[in-house]
Amino acid sequence: MSQPHDDATFAAFYQRSWGRLFGQAYVLTGDRELAQDLTQEALLKTWKQWTKVAAYESPEGWTRRVLHNLCIDSWRKTSQPGAHLTMEHSPVTSEIPAHHQQLAQAMRGLPGEQARALLLHDGLGLTVPEVAREIGAAEGTVKSWLSRSRKVVAARLDALDRDRSWR
């Protein structure tokens, strides 16, 4: 299926992009285990298309799109009510600071495209035109999404702080 050359370039790409992609999945899920699963899934999809993707201007941009969509799809799968606690406490989950969890939960409450836009712009520092191109929306739309969704997420972070007591 692949040439040795492909193996080497993919291995380098995989190693180089893992931390960045994993971080984005963490922002979109607030869950390091799920983020790890989804990052592997996105990279596996990349590998299956590697001959094609490797030639793109930004292979990581391609994988990023796949990953963000996987993360947003995971919201639907995991948001059903009625889940109950039977497993022992996961140490990996418990390491997550409350403000990270709040941010991720607020992201999950946004329409998927808006969450992607906010991550690309406020998290990764893409410009509005770049975000608009990546998502396939008008720049004006992206701008209004950003200001609205930033307020929603900020309000969630503020609510967390209010819950904490200063003594």
């Binding site: 190693q15 931390g19 984005q24 596996l44 995991t78 497993m87 403000h99 998290g123 702080d161 819950d163």
Partner: protein
């Protein structure tokens, strides 16, 4: 540390989340990945349950009321002593290295470690400018690039954090971060700026977030510049009462050092009340 419109709180938290993941290594090699040996940490716990767990953890953390300035051992008298009138310590220090969370065994007995063991960072873990290798990059995502694979010095896992009574400006100290989690600790060198260098501190709302602006005396301004210059492209930390409020890289987007002009801005995840409280404490530390 002037802010830009992009320095919204959301952006700060998001970049912090990205940064905590940036040095992660893939759990399996590329070969293993396409051989189908994906590793799932969740050991196939139903993702529903994982997320339910996450929700529970939020509650626990909120109930624990880990305020931004409370130590992990927030219930000890030492942690809240500054509220009953004792002196608040404020200092700006160089960051020498990260330290792992304290071992459970030693954290149970913080008081018996009143004699301070020598704190040293092993060379590979030193957060020097040369190691961090900061390069301004105006086209890049952050405006700079940095070698981000410097982890905590494992030799410090058994070393407890410095007790408040031992947190002296002239000493090297080991202090926790503000998250309320023991996972981030820092080894900090002797203070460059101390409470006496502060002219005034105030909470200010700018660019959609609350920050604390600290104005220094002329002597303090000079000391801050000396420290920040020495730490150019490395990190300095703000130590407020034995907790690291913030530990930013110094001017990573610049190619050369420029003066702070006696003004220090502390941006974190502050509410109005939080910023006001921190400003008040810094004023008390003068």
């Amino acid at each position: 540390m002037p802010g830009s419109p992009e320095d919204s709180r959301v952006s700060i938290v998001m970049r912090e989340m990205l940064a905590t993941c940036a040095d992660r290594q893939p759990p399996v090699s590329a070969d293993q990945l396409h051989a189908g040996q994906r590793r799932s940490l969740s050991a196939r716990i139903d993702t529903k349950v994982v997320l339910a767990l996450a929700a529970v953890v939020i509650l626990v953390v909120a109930l624990a009321a880990t305020g931004p300035l409370r130590r992990t051992s927030g219930s000890t008298p030492a942690a809240s002593s500054h509220h009953v009138g004792s002196h608040v310590e404020f200092s700006v220090r160089p960051v020498l290295c990260y330290a792992p969370p304290v071992d459970a065994d030693s954290s149970l007995h913080p008081a018996i470690h009143s004699s301070v063991p020598p704190l040293e960072c092993s060379a590979p873990y030193a957060l020097t400018a040369a190691h961090l290798n900061v390069t301004p990059d105006s086209g890049g995502i952050n405006g700079y690039t940095v070698t981000s694979d410097i982890g905590p010095d494992p030799d410090l896992a058994g070393v407890p954090s410095t007790a408040p009574s031992s947190d002296r400006p002239t000493r090297t100290v080991l202090l926790p971060g503000v998250s309320g989690q023991a996972s981030s600790r820092y080894v900090l060198g002797p203070a460059g700026v101390v409470g006496a260098d502060v002219r005034s501190a105030s909470a200010v709302h700018q660019y959609g977030q609350w920050v604390v602006l600290v104005e220094l005396t002329p002597a303090g301004a000079k000391r801050l510049d000396q420290l920040a210059h020495a730490q150019f492209h490395a990190m300095t930390a703000i130590d407020l009462d034995g907790v690291v409020l913030s530990a930013p890289l110094q001017q990573p987007t610049q190619t050369s050092f420029s003066t702070f002009g006696g003004k220090l801005e502390i941006a974190g995840s502050f509410t109005k009340a939080g910023a006001t409280e921190v400003a008040h404490q810094i004023n008390q530390a003068r």
